[in-house]
């Protein structure tokens, strides 16, 4: 029976020399679901996302994007995902439109389709005023909107977002969360990493708590609070779970 999950991670390990960054991680994300990867610095969130994005090769285990084994065929997997890195990653001397056309071309999209998609994204992300301005002249929030447009230019079924709201003001963060919610409604699978536990609680359908490269707990934010002994917040749940693990 085919795997219905858009993203599947099975016993994933990633080592850098002697250091193990990800240690036997397994989870899956269904289409139309937002999955939050949470954890302290060094927990392995960014490494996991980079493996999923085809930037790093797994040391062991398997990661599949839309059924494509990322380790075996990273280029093919990259056609099925949009990756938003920790930085906006825009070319300052190009206009926003030129950036979108460039990345659309790298995704083998024909010009008319790129143009049509830019029109769609202009409406969805409110890009009209900034589309023909050089990226270096844009504010942080504007850059992040262009960056999101760049990541989804080919309308991929899977979105991988590495701390997308870092450095954004309240309005820009809210706008972005609304957009991610809208993408979920369109059936996209979203993997979302963040330090802001409150934001994850608001947005995610399920959360995986990462600690030292392994999954500490997984489930709906409400279930995680229950699992941690009826914690009042996700933050408290996380702290209790880590304390329990260290004590054990």
């Amino acid at each position: 029976m085919p795997d219905p999950s858009a993203v599947t991670v099975e016993r994933l390990k990633k080592r850098f020399g002697q250091r193990t960054a990800v240690d036997g991680l397994s989870f899956s994300v269904a289409a139309g679901e937002i999955y939050g990867l949470l954890g302290p610095n060094g927990a392995g969130k960014t490494t996991t996302l980079r493996v999923l994005a085809g930037l790093l090769r797994p040391t062991e285990g398997v990661a599949r994007i839309d059924g494509v084994d990322v380790g075996a065929d990273p280029r093919q997997a990259q056609r099925h995902l949009g990756f938003l890195t920790g930085t906006t990653g825009l070319y300052g001397r190009l206009t926003a439109r030129e950036v979108l056309v460039y990345f659309g071309t790298l995704q083998d999209m024909p010009r008319p389709r790129i143009a049509a998609r830019i029109d769609q994204l202009t409406d969805a992300l409110d890009l009209r005023a900034i589309l023909d301005r050089r990226c270096e002249a844009l504010s942080s929030g504007q850059k992040q909107r262009i960056s999101v447009a760049r990541a989804v230019i080919h309308d991929p079924p899977v979105l991988i977002l590495d701390e997308p709201t870092v450095g954004l003001d309240v309005l820009a963060s809210r706008f972005l969360r609304e957009y991610i919610g809208a993408e979920r409604a369109r059936g996209k699978a979203v993997i979302f990493s963040t330090h802001y536990l409150a934001e994850a609680e608001l947005l995610c359908d399920r959360i995986g708590l990462l600690y030292q490269g392994a999954l500490l707990a997984e489930g709906h934010p409400r279930d995680l609070r229950v699992q941690a002994g009826d914690a009042t917040s996700l933050e408290e749940a996380f702290l209790r779970l880590v304390t329990n693990l260290v004590a054990a």
Partner: protein, 672 residues
Amino acid sequence: MNLPHVGAVFRKELRETLRDRRTLTVMFLFPLVVYPLVSLLMAEVMAGKQATDEARTSHIALVDPDPASRATLAALLDKKGTGIEVTRDVSLAHATGQDVSNGLIDAVVEVAPDKAKAAGPLPVRIIYDETRPVSDQAHDRVTKTLSGVLPTGCFQSYAVTGASLATKTKVGGYVLSKILPLIVVIMTMLGAFYPAIDITAGERERGTLETLLSSPVQRFDLMTGKVLAVAALSLLTGVLNIVSMSLTVAEGARLAAGSPILAIPWPRAAATLLIVVPAAFLFGSVMVAIGAMARSFKEAQTLLMPVYLLCFTPSLVAGMADFRLTGLTMLVPGTNLTLLARDLMLGDAHLLPAVIVLASTIGFGAVALAFAARLYDSERLLASTDADLVSLSAWLRHLVSRPAAPGALEMAGAQPVPPSAGQAVSLFGVAFVLWFFAFTWLQRWSLIPGLMLSQWGGFLGLVWIYARLCHRSLGDVLVFRRPPAAALGGAALVGLSGWIILGVLADKVMPPPREVVENIRNLIHPPGESRSLALSVFALAVTPAVCEEALFRGAILQGLRRQFSVPVSCLLTGILFGVMHGDVWRFVPTTILGVLLSWVALTSGSIIPSMLVHVLNNGVLIVLGYYGLDQAGDKLSGRTTILIMGVAVIFMLGGLAAVRRAGRDTGRQTAG
């Protein structure tokens, strides 16, 4: 001024900068090792070229209707030491300017037919081609010879005038050939410099690299696009320089002389564009590949500047010294393009060398491109950290401080520090600096004492200090173990046969000039000096076999082996060994010998067999030189040479097989 603040900032900046391994390399390795090395090699090459030029005989034709006068003049010109030979070839006895232009003869010396009527000095006209260096040299030699017939102050016997056959266009081509090729190569390199940094290290620094690499684009395609962009900019720079330089030279000559004294050969200048395309591709690829290794714009500049200078220097020398585009020169990147551009400008280019130069340039460019693509396919690009920086910096601090000093070598405490590639390279750097700035001077002062001091006190002493600082015994650093008897037997065979194979190879690949061979002979057996054979063998065979082996096959090889495979470690050690000998003509054979010695040491698991190979290799040559038998090979027939070579190859293969088997049997193979 708040001095504590200034001091704090100063210390922080210095600490941060000195923790950057690549900055350290460029700061110390290049000025202290690479530049002296390059200057040394260039001086050798120039000296070799000058010696070859001076040894070359100028062939001239003498045209004089008066047989008696012709005989006097011919005797004068043909005299030993003038470097001139008056041709006896009947067909060229009355050579014309056409023969000079075609290169059949270097110059024609013509005596005026009405000389008998003329009073005073005999008018002599030298017909030559000022745009051909050999013809120009012939003109200079004839002028010098005839002008020096009588002592200064006396009436000159000959009134010498020169008549160059070169047309204005040819002179224009000649003038341009002296400056344009070098300028084009340098500017094409410079044209690639900043764009290459911007699209590699700049991309990484701006944070766009990760975004780009998450796109489904093949890394080779990605790199090809980047290289082509850099090459296009570089190409534009090269073309603009050719056009601008040609116009500038033409206009400059016109302004200086008031009327056109030369004409620009525009078709040839246009033909020079031929080199700009592969040059732009090569420099674009190399600079993108190197820029891709850098983590920041600043670091890329630091890495690329020495590459730029290293490419520039040979091109400069080749361009200025009238080297011919033959043999291995056709394969030296940058230099070969400079020489081809010069030949194109002079109208002297030939198809085969041109094809080899262009093909090899594109080939080198493709290799650099493939390397860059491979680098972009590596996750180290995103996850790169200076993993071994801690150990290197700790080791360097340890090197300059007492082991017991607080904070020194925190990572290792008082435990023995294992060898590392960083240590090996640093050790080589120190040894090279000592060798270049002190040991060569010592040996020039007095060969044998200087050699003893620099080898036993210098190389071996350095290894001893290194062992002390690493808390290891000298025997451990050297891998001084008792080897199996079979390994010693094999090493003996390798040592007895190596010198023959390497000697023949050196003669075939890069035959050294006669002066270089003579210098080596004089070193082994100094004329007019009664040095005993035993002393020569001890100083020139035993000493380097112990001390150089300790440095190269001990500390350096063992350090490199920690990071690299056996073949790569052997190759790198061999190259460093070749470099340390500081002789461009012996570089290839010494490097091969260094590789062989490294392989023997690693495979046998002991330094003793490599010492044996080294002592036999040098010892045999010294004994032959002592008894004057070293030139006997020159008199052997082709068949005998092949036979000896065949026996040497069998000895060599047998020896290597014995070493390998001995290493396997004892399980010491690839020690280190």
